[in-house]
């Protein structure tokens, strides 16, 4: 009887209804997001290298920021975008923003305006938003020759040559660092065309899922740094000294990881004992 009850328990553990997993996960993520303010974050090498690549820029240098994500990846990529913008404006680096995902670019623009206001920067003088043009490969390649061929004006229609920030900007030769925020394949095109053909210095922030794809570029030295996922964002915020949503999200991520590990352990125990008692029964 007791043996049967034990077997029944492990069978349940072996086949937990996914709806139970969903509910427990929702609780485990929501509570830390509401009550916690984040913990101690230790930056890892790829993030330190990314931070150093921006730190190496001098006053008046140009950083091109590419918004290659949309709202789906905003929780991971927006905190790192804000941290990078803070670091850049702190160093009086000029920002040229553009994007290859039309529906995501407004997110980048909102962050740009918000951080620029914090540092008293002026649109058209210290930063500009070029907007979106379709056909990312064509855009990426064409900017190697003349940016104005693709972006004759900014997102509001102001000609590039009429704004102090862009009047002398022609191609990647005038861009000191490219910082792309990626949730898809555009990173491959940046590396394949802009780095390989034009030898552009570049650093990327990616979603956690995409980060493993970018590791080969980091190891081969094609990109200077890599900020991966919410953890990377939290590390970058730590390096910039301005904890934000990335840092605040870490406890939730931590609990989610622990919960998944817990479920995996339960599932394996269930698998082991069910199989063992099944063998004994036969």
């Amino acid at each position: 009887m007791a043996e049967g009850r034990r077997r029944g328990f492990w069978e349940v553990m072996n086949n937990i209804d996914r709806r139970i997993i969903f509910v427990v996960l929702a609780v485990c993520v929501t509570i830390p997001l509401i009550v916690s303010t984040g913990g101690e974050i230790k930056p890892t090498a790829p993030v330190i290298r990314a931070h150093a690549s921006v730190e190496a820029l001098e006053t008046g240098d140009y950083m091109m920021i590419s918004i290659d994500f949309d709202a789906t990846s905003a929780p991971e990529l927006m905190p790192m975008l804000r941290a990078v913008l803070r670091q850049a404006f702190e160093k009086d680096v000029k920002i040229i923003m553009l994007g290859h995902i039309a529906i995501g670019l407004p997110l980048g623009h909102m962050a740009l305006e918000q951080i620029a206001a914090e540092y008293d920067k002026e649109y058209g003088v210290d930063y500009v938003d070029l907007g979106y043009r379709p056909g990312y490969i064509a855009v990426i390649i064409a900017m190697g020759r003349e940016i104005e061929d693709i972006f004759a004006s900014d997102y509001q229609g102001t000609p590039l040559r009429e704004m102090p920030v862009t009047e002398n900007i022609h191609s990647y030769d005038d861009i000191d660092l490219l910082f792309g925020f990626e949730h898809g394949a555009v990173i491959d095109y940046w590396v394949r065309y802009t780095q390989a053909r034009f030898d552009q210095r570049m650093t990327f922030g990616t979603t956690a899922v995409m980060a493993p794809d970018a590791y080969p570029y980091l190891q081969s030295g094609q990109i200077e740094g890599l900020v991966g996922g919410l953890k990377g964002a939290a590390e970058y915020e730590t390096l910039v000294g301005h904890p934000g949503l990335g840092t605040r999200g870490m406890p939730a991520q931590q609990w989610a990881h622990l919960l998944v590990i817990g479920f995996i352990v339960l599932g394996n125990l269930g698998h082991y004992f069910t199989r063992k008692s099944g063998k004994r029964a036969t």
Binding site: R18, T72, S73, D120, D173, D213
Partner: protein, 425 residues
């Protein structure tokens, strides 16, 4: 079984309330919700001082050199220069202006760069014309011109020599493929290992037929210029032929209009080939949306409503891969997935019955058709891959032996490794 209409209508009503809540303020009070842009100003002049504090003219730059940009399509001359160190006035330079002249002309500006730059690329040069360049140091108190550079002539090249190794590898690859295609045409037996995911294609369609449930084919979210999508479309042809023969329903939701027209043609041709053109439903290949997660929601909806027995997730997928595969698992469908996106492969392996990993997806049409010519191309590909593996092993052995037994970097092994690295790097 039809679903009751009332909840559907209720959902519609709720949705409309949501849409109204969203659009009415948008249309009436558009100006009030956006955060006003910062009106802050900053110094336009990057010089650290004002005019009165600049004592002297900036120094002239030295070593101005001009040369044709190599391996380009012409019209480009690169200009480089150096700034003398520890010369008074260097810190006041606000920009470098580049002036150009041809024989008999007066120097005219062709561009300017920030004071931190030491190079400029003149993209307005005419091929065949001899130019000389002067770099002008500009500061708030005036400017100083450099000595002119030596003459430079822009020209276009007919061959990018830096890409010679790529050409060689491409030629080797093409030769290997053509060689094996010819051998296959000559009747040679070519062994191809078993790929379980492709073996299961016909079984999955058969199972859907037995159960009287449809087959869902998702050809990824990219357009036809992605070779992964093309590979998926070739498999769609095979699946559509089977479906047409068995009389099973086929659903192909797509995220790209060009993929839609291509897939429609492929499915129609497959039905025609099976002699079942009357059974072809043009609506079976339907465009949903270009938006990644809008498409995911649409496909998930189709899975839940139509309950397909066989689900094919083949092509290019990104973050939506697991959402689709888990929904397919939840409805109990047999799932065959395949992609070259390495970051999505773990998700497919975890949630699907069969997964085609990377090159298996591209091998599918050859494998399924069993045509000798197609199989020949696979053998050519394998030969190239083995050659690359040998080169990697050679590099590893030479580099490791050089580093371990002949340190110092001047041994035969070190030089051989450096040569290999620079050639392929």
């Amino acid at each position: 079984m039809t679903r009751p209409e009332t909840p559907d209508r209720t959902r519609f009503g709720l949705l409309m309330v949501f849409v109204m809540l969203l659009t009415i303020p948008a249309l009436t009070g558009g100006d009030s919700f956006a955060r006003p842009r910062s009106l802050a100003t900053s110094e336009i002049l990057s010089s650290p001082t004002d005019l009165a504090m600049v004592p002297v003219l900036p120094p002239a730059v030295c070593t101005v050199q001009a040369a044709d940009v190599p391996e380009d399509g012409g019209g480009l001359i690169s200009v480089t220069w150096e700034v003398p160190e520890d010369t008074p006035g260097t810190e006041f330079i606000t920009a470098f202006e580049i002036l150009r002249y041809a024989p008999g002309e007066t120097p005219a500006p062709v561009g300017d760069v920030p004071p931190t730059d030491r190079a400029f690329e003149d993209g307005s040069a005419e091929d065949g014309t001899t130019y000389q360049y002067i770099v002008r140091s500009v500061s708030p108190s005036g400017f100083t011109d450099s000595e002119p550079s030596g003459p430079a002539v822009a020209s276009a090249q007919w061959f990018a020599r830096g890409r010679f190794p790529v050409l060689l590898v491409t030629l080797f690859f093409c030769t290997a493929v053509l060689f094996f295609v010819q051998r296959a045409k000559g009747g040679a037996e070519l062994f191809i290992r078993k790929i379980p995911g492709l073996e299961a294609v016909d079984d999955a369609v058969g199972r859907a037929t037995e159960m009287g449930r449809p087959v869902l084919f998702v050809p990824g979210i990219e357009t036809v210029s992605e070779v992964g999508t093309l590979a998926a479309l070739t498999i769609l042809g095979h699946v559509a032929r089977r479906v047409a023969t068995h009389g099973t329903r086929l659903l192909v939701p797509v995220a790209d209009p060009i993929v839609m027209t291509t897939a429609q043609e492929i499915v129609r041709a497959a039905y025609a080939e099976a002699g079942q053109l009357d059974a072809y439903d043009p609506g079976s290949v339907a465009y949903l949306t270009y938006d990644q997660f809008g498409y995911t929601a649409g496909v998930d909806g189709i899975m839940v409503r139509e309950r397909p027995e066989a689900v094919f997730l083949l092509g290019t997928f990104y973050a939506e891969s697991l959402i689709l595969a888990e929904t397919g698992h939840a409805i109990g469908a047999i799932q065959i997935a395949g992609t070259k996106e390495t970051s999505q492969l773990p998700f497919f392996v975890a949630a699907c019955d069969y997964t085609l990993i990377g090159e298996e997806l591209f091998a599918a049409s050859s494998y399924l058709s069993r045509e000798p010519v197609m199989l020949g191309s696979l053998k050519g590909q394998d030969l190239t891959k083995m050659t690359i593996v040998y080169v990697i092993v050679l590099g590893f052995v030479v580099g490791t032996v050089g580093a371990l037994f002949f340190p110092g970097g001047n041994s035969f092994f070190s030089r051989a490794f450096d040569a290999l690295y620079s050639w392929f790097g």
